[in-house]
């Protein structure tokens, strides 16, 4: 990356703007601030940023609506801020294509990590699924459709491999149950999460050292799963 990434920060709360904007600038991002959904869409149209940090509780438009409109035009990463306990909004926004979320009150590092991961996706999106990809001490071998840990081959069923590949492709991002179900079993399976539970537990048995305390394949309760490349980060 030659130029600094531009971030559009959308939150109606002025103190939040005043705390976050300098933080992001200090990490080398260019920051533009919008206080309403309308302003956010305008700023987005006028000068598309590299990433949007979007608060879901906006005064004029539902945050999910902003998310949907942006997704209609662009694939740029969206990180959601939410103060609501309601998981539904989060999941709805993620299903609409948001990349990740942070729940208020969050610490600065949490947000910065999400932003880093979301930006990385942009640059790895086009990577072809060939050869081998290393994620921590786990290697995914696309040619042989299996995973390797150290010297040990892990045999995976086709569905297990598909799930692992999907999660690895979106490493460090949360994927909602719905997204995963749709990607692996097709649109008709989105309301049958039990498929996913079974498959996840099979996959955990194979790739996790201790499936009862997964290091890679983390649950995001009521939202989805995240494949983390920084195991033991203590989420």
């Amino acid at each position: 990356v030659t130029r600094p990434a531009r971030i559009l920060l959308v939150d109606d709360d002025v103190p939040i703007q005043r705390a976050l904007a300098p933080l992001l600038r200090s990490r080398g991002y260019e920051v533009e601030v919008a206080g309403t959904g309308g302003d956010a869409l305008k700023a987005f149209a006028a000068h598309p940023p590299d990433l949007i940090v979007l608060d879901l509780g906006l005064p004029d438009l539902e945050g999910t609506e902003v998310c949907r409109r942006i997704r209609a035009d662009s694939n740029l990463p969206i990180v959601i801020l939410t103060a609501r306990g309601a998981e539904q909004d989060k999941v709805a926004a993620l299903d609409l294509g948001a990349d990740d979320y942070v729940t208020k009150p969050f610490g600065p590092e949490e947000l910065l990590a999400r932003i880093r991961v979301a930006l990385r996706r942009v640059f790895s999106d086009d990577a072809a699924e060939v050869g081998r990809v290393r994620l921590g001490d786990l290697t995914i071998d696309y040619d042989r459709r299996r995973a390797v840990r150290g010297e040990e081959d892990i045999r995976l069923t086709p569905k297990e491999f598909e799930l692992l590949a999907l999660l690895a492709r979106n490493a460090d991002r949360v994927l909602t149950h719905r997204t995963i179900l749709k990607a692996i079993w097709g649109p008709n399976a989105v309301d049958q999460p039990e498929h996913l539970w079974v498959l996840i537990s099979q996959l955990r048995k194979k790739i996790e050292l201790d499936p009862s305390e997964p290091r890679y394949l983390l649950s995001e309760p009521w939202v989805g799963y995240r494949f983390t490349t920084e195991p033991g980060r203590g989420e």
């Binding site: 109606d12 103190p15 939040i16 005043r18 705390a19 200090s26 306990g85 969050f106 610490g107 947000l111």
Partner: protein, 486 residues
């Protein structure tokens, strides 16, 4: 009684009149004609008066018939045995006629009485249906019964865990012996303090739900049953209303709790996030001095916001618990305004506050409560009026109350929001656009003022902007001297 005596006198006068007319003037001697005339009088008397009057009239007429018209005239002796027959036939006919007509009269009276009782029952059932306050319903029911039926004492007794709840009404004070009450018995009477008390079971279907006790006028058994039926329905209705109200209260308090949680969810987490991020920014080395100042100001302002939020929650809890007492003293209205401004100084920083107090009278109220309520109105105005606009606070003292109004130059209140402004956690269409504001301030202001019997309302001003007005009933002084307030 007087009426009966005058009727009797009239009846006897009629007999005397006919007798003297026939004897002294018309010279009528035909026994048949005399007997028929007397019979006519007796019949008229019997249809209009009581039986005993008719009987006395009959006997008098018979004696008069015997004395004046049956030979030998002028004596009570009767010569011709045929005349004995005539005399007794007359007496018998007049007595039978009296009796028949008085029975007919009694029937009519009874029918009229029934009609009145039916009307009373009907009125009662209407009264009962109109009662909406469940708590008062049963006492009201007792009062309705006593009034509609002209009784001296009415009690509705409902069994309650081995004891009885007794709801009484009527001028007579009776101490019902509760051990004499029982759901099992049918109609019966007991004697309490020399009063006969009729007891009627109240039944819903077959199930007895209570007892009705009535004293004073005797009420007919059928009517009592009907009364018991209506009372039972009324009681069931009251209990139903009460249950519904309890359910409604529970539902509202649930709704309130979740509104509180939702509100806290947003209103706590947002400032906490800002504080957390700003505090960690303060630790960073990349900050310039200006940045550092700004970030620390930010932390302080957010802490202030949280403090205010907690104050609101606490105040609200105290209002709910009824834990706010009033301490009135003499105070200058401008002092209250000053105190209120101090409390929300932060919120008012960006506005110009104009104060108009043209009165030097003192008012007697609780300055603490009043100022706290006013502070909420000021804070509200500051939130919804644009920065740097003018907020006008005006106090007007009149003979019996103090009015303080807060007028802003904002966009005013949407018509649809006006009726709900003081509802807890209500945030109008416009309010939702603001990050600050918890939907508690105005409802707290109202709660605080209620302790002082004060009112608060909001309206839109003709020239734009909203005006919120507090009115508190107070004693006021004429221009105060130090003695008068000592």
């Amino acid at each position: 009684m007087f009426r009966d005596l005058s009727r009797l006198a009239a009846a006897l006068a009629a007999v005397a009149l006919v007798t003297s007319a026939y004897v002294g003037w018309l010279n009528v001697t035909n026994a048949t004609m005399v007997a028929l005339s007397f019979l006519l009088i007796v019949l008229v008397v019997a249809t209009t008066s009581r039986l005993w009057i008719a009987v006395v009239t009959s006997v008098t007429a018979m004696l008069s018939f015997n004395f004046f018209f049956l030979p030998p005239v002028g004596t009570f002796t009767i010569a011709d045995p045929q005349n004995w027959v005539a005399l007794f036939a007359f007496l018998a006919v007049s007595l039978v006629a009296s009796n028949l007509s008085s029975v007919a009269r009694a029937r009519t009276d009874e029918a009229l009485g029934r009609r009145d009782e039916m009307a009373s029952l009907f009125d009662l059932s209407r009264d009962v249906l109109l009662v909406t306050d469940s708590r008062e319903a049963i006492t009201l029911l007792a009062r309705f019964i006593y009034r509609r039926f002209g009784l001296d004492y009415v009690a509705i007794c409902l069994p309650k865990q081995g004891d009885w709840d007794v709801f009484e009404s009527g001028p007579l004070a009776l101490a019902l012996d509760r051990s004499q009450l029982s759901l099992d018995a049918d109609h019966r009477s007991i004697v309490v303090a020399n009063q006969r008390v009729q007891l009627v079971p109240l039944r819903l279907g077959k199930k007895p739900v209570g007892l009705l006790a009535a004293a004073g006028r005797e009420i007919e058994a059928g009517t009592l049953d009907a009364l018991g039926g209506i009372a039972a329905i009324a009681i069931e209705r009251a209990q139903f209303l009460e249950e519904r109200e309890t359910a409604e209260v529970a539902r509202r308090s649930e709704a309130l709790k979740s509104a509180l949680l939702a509100s806290l969810g947003h209103d706590l987490r947002t400032p906490l996030t800002a504080i957390r991020v700003a505090a960690s920014n303060l630790q960073a080395s990349w900050l310039s001095d200006d940045d550092r100042r700004e970030q620390s100001q930010l932390v302080l302002a957010e802490v202030e916001r949280l403090t205010r939020l907690f104050q609101n929650i606490l105040e609200m809890a105290r209002i709910d618990a009824g834990g706010i007492s009033m301490e009135s003293r003499w105070v200058d209205p401008s002092e209250i305004i000053e105190a209120a401004r101090d409390q929300v100084e932060q919120a008012l920083r960006q506005h110009t506050v104009e104060v108009q107090v043209d009165d030097s009278r003192l008012v007697h109220l609780d300055p603490r409560l009043t100022a706290a309520a006013l502070a909420h109105l000021l804070e509200n105005a500051a939130q919804y009026a644009p920065a740097r606009s003018v907020i006008t606070v005006a106090a007007v003292v009149s003979a019996n109350d103090l009015e303080i109004s807060v007028r802003d130059r904002g966009a005013g209140v949407a018509e649809a929001d006006l009726p709900h402004l003081f509802e807890r956690f209500y945030r109008g269409g416009e309010a939702k656009r603001r990050a600050s504001g918890t939907g508690m301030g105005l409802s707290i202001a109202r709660g605080l003022l209620a302790v002082e019997q004060g009112r608060v309302w909001g309206e839109n001003c003709p020239g734009g902007g909203a005006r919120f007005t507090i009115r508190i009933p107070v004693k006021t002084t004429a221009v105060a001297s130090s003695e008068s307030i000592a």
